[in-house]
């Protein structure tokens, strides 16, 4: 069953592009990643699902109901965490959370204290006095306190330290095991790879790729840089699976996709000073998708 169905969703801001013809589905109990560089249209898509903005054309359904027409009704079962959290500064954390809970017709007090404990959040502080990371935690508790069936998160981990990110992902995985469907956007590929079953990749307002994360992992790109003692033949690394090859002086950098052993052998045959093997960032992957499409 599809929890979210997006059909040819288009949104223009005046003459500016928002998103163009976006379509994808999110299945029940799935963790779905939505990735793309900044300004690609991730937030626009998510905000349309939440009826914060209205589509220019196309439509989206959540729980089988139109997300604009039945917005208030379906939001009972949605938890949302915006990319930048802002709350009523003068309120205490606990008052804000109680206010948030008062919109749902159930007792959330036990859940609030559980989540606050898990996230290590002081409930008696004023929102105004919290750091960015702590405000984000308020946002997380606020988004999960009513045990929603669908959790929508817009760049959820920005501002959280790695330990908290870990904790947060554990929380999400727990919710997912209990039956919640999760849709989250990110521009960090690693985060999405770790968490998601499927991903949609958006660039300049259009979905350019939609696949299972396992398929994406087969496209396991490594970004490799090698510093050598002597200047190498430019084509030494020009083998199958290498792209974006740049050679300058004694530095060679390229993207590699394929059996990692073959490239390691190649590296081991030469005299090197240093080697870096990194996850390529999204921009570089996109570059590649772009070239493939062209």
């Amino acid at each position: 069953m599809n929890v979210i169905e997006i059909n040819n969703l288009t949104k223009n801001y005046g003459k500016e592009r928002g998103i163009i013809d976006v379509s994808f589905n999110v299945e029940e109990k799935e963790i779905f990643g939505f990735i793309g560089p900044n300004g690609a249209g991730k937030s626009t898509t998510l905000r349309t699902l939440l009826a914060l903005i209205y589509p220019t054309s196309g439509s989206a359904k959540i729980f089988g109901k139109d997300c604009i027409k039945y917005g208030p009704e379906i939001k009972k079962e949605i938890g949302y965490l915006p990319s930048e959290v802002f709350y009523y500064d003068k309120m205490k954390v606990i008052d804000l959370l109680k206010y948030s809970a008062s919109f749902y017709k159930k007792d959330c007090s036990k859940r609030i204290s559980e989540l606050a404990d898990a996230m290590d959040l002081n409930l008696n502080k004023k929102i105004d006095d919290l750091s960015f990371g702590n405000k984000k935690k308020v946002g997380i508790v606020q988004g999960l306190l009513h045990e929603p069936k669908l959790i929508i998160l817009d760049e959820p981990t920005s501002g959280l330290d790695p330990l908290m990110q870990q904790k947060f992902f554990e929380l999400l995985q727990e919710e997912n095991k209990k039956g919640a469907t999760i849709l989250f956007s990110s521009h960090i590929l690693g985060e999405v790879q770790r968490m998601c079953n499927r991903v949609a990749i958006i660039k300049e307002g259009r979905i350019i790729q939609l696949e299972k994360i396992s398929a994406l992992q087969e496209n396991n790109y490594k970004k490799i840089r090698v510093q050598t003692t002597v200047k190498l033949d430019e084509n030494y690394f020009n083998i199958d699976g290498v792209s974006n090859l740049v050679v300058s002086q004694n530095m060679i950098s390229f993207l590699f996709k394929g059996n990692i052993n073959s490239i390691m052998k190649k590296i081991s045959e030469i005299e090197i000073i240093n080697v870096w093997v990194e996850e390529p960032d999204l921009e570089e992957i996109f570059l590649h998708f772009y070239e493939k499409g062209a």
Binding site: R47, L52, I53, Y54, K75, K76, Y80, P82, E84, F103
Partner: protein, 265 residues
């Protein structure tokens, strides 16, 4: 209900401050009445020294400054100015503050309709103004009975005082409409003060001409105190305009707010 209470609480401080200001002002003004009524003759002479246009603009009708109702209708001009500012600020800020303080994402992703949000906020603003008016009316009535020894019509006094509430509702509706018509409001105070003073100054100018038709231009002239004192009632045509404006402005606000895109911060 939760939104209504939240809003009311958010405006607690401003409600209290404005209520105290208006109550303090009317106590101050009316406590001056005994002196002025005793010296009414001398005061009249002094006033007659001013050019007529200035007297009209200031709302001074020399003949009845010695009676409590005459005096009240004079000082009320300034009460109404303050009241209008309170209502306008409330109106401009109540919907726009969610965008300005970036809390719109919080509120609008809750299971509520936009209509419910507007209604809760409107009711909270209405209640805030109602509280101010109840205290103002109490203080004004009490002070009037303390300082005036002669008989006077309490009904007319009540009718005069009640115009504060109508004027405030007018500016509340105007404020909300303005806040939704301007794409992004940076300073509530400058927009509110600017609008209210503009209408106030138009009001002063209208007084000097005495032209009936241009009274429609400013709500400060919708309630003519000389008329109310003579007839013990409001002028129905201006009352209709007030009500019509409020209804139209509020309806338009509901429509605009329901259709509007809430942009990311």
């Amino acid at each position: 209900m939760n939104m209504f209470l939240h809003e009311l609480k958010a405006y607690k401080k401003s409600t209290i401050t404005w209520t105290l200001t208006l109550v303090g002002l009317i106590i101050l003004f009316l406590s001056m009445f005994p002196t002025i009524s005793e010296e009414a003759e001398a005061f009249k002479k002094l006033m007659e020294g001013f050019p007529e246009e200035i007297r009209l603009a200031l709302g001074l009708s020399v003949e009845n400054i010695g009676s409590i109702l005459g005096f009240y209708s004079y000082v009320f001009l300034y009460i109404s100015l303050f009241g209008a500012i309170q209502a306008m600020i409330l109106g401009v800020s109540i919907l726009s503050k969610e965008v300005r303080e970036k809390t719109a994402d919080f509120l609008l992703t809750k299971p509520v309709t936009r209509t419910q949000i507007v209604t809760s906020k409107l009711l909270a603003a209405f209640t805030s103004l109602l509280i101010t008016n109840v205290f103002y009316l109490g203080a004004a009535t009490m002070m009037a009975s303390l300082v005036e020894t002669k008989e006077y019509s309490t009904k007319i006094f009540f009718l005069l005082s009640l115009t504060l509430f109508f004027l405030q509702l007018f500016f509340l509706a105007l404020g909300i409409l303005v806040s939704l018509s301007v794409p992004k409001i940076k300073s509530v105070l400058s927009i509110s003060l600017g609008t209210v003073f503009a209408f106030f100054i138009i009001g002063a100018l209208v007084s000097t001409t005495g032209d009936e038709a241009i009274r429609y231009l400013t709500p400060f002239k919708y309630f003519d105190f000389a008329y109310i004192m003579q007839n013990s009632s409001y002028e129905s045509s201006f009352m209709m305009v007030t009500i019509a404006f409020i209804v139209i402005a509020i309806t338009a606000s509901y429509l605009i707010y329901s259709k509007r895109d809430i942009h990311a911060v």
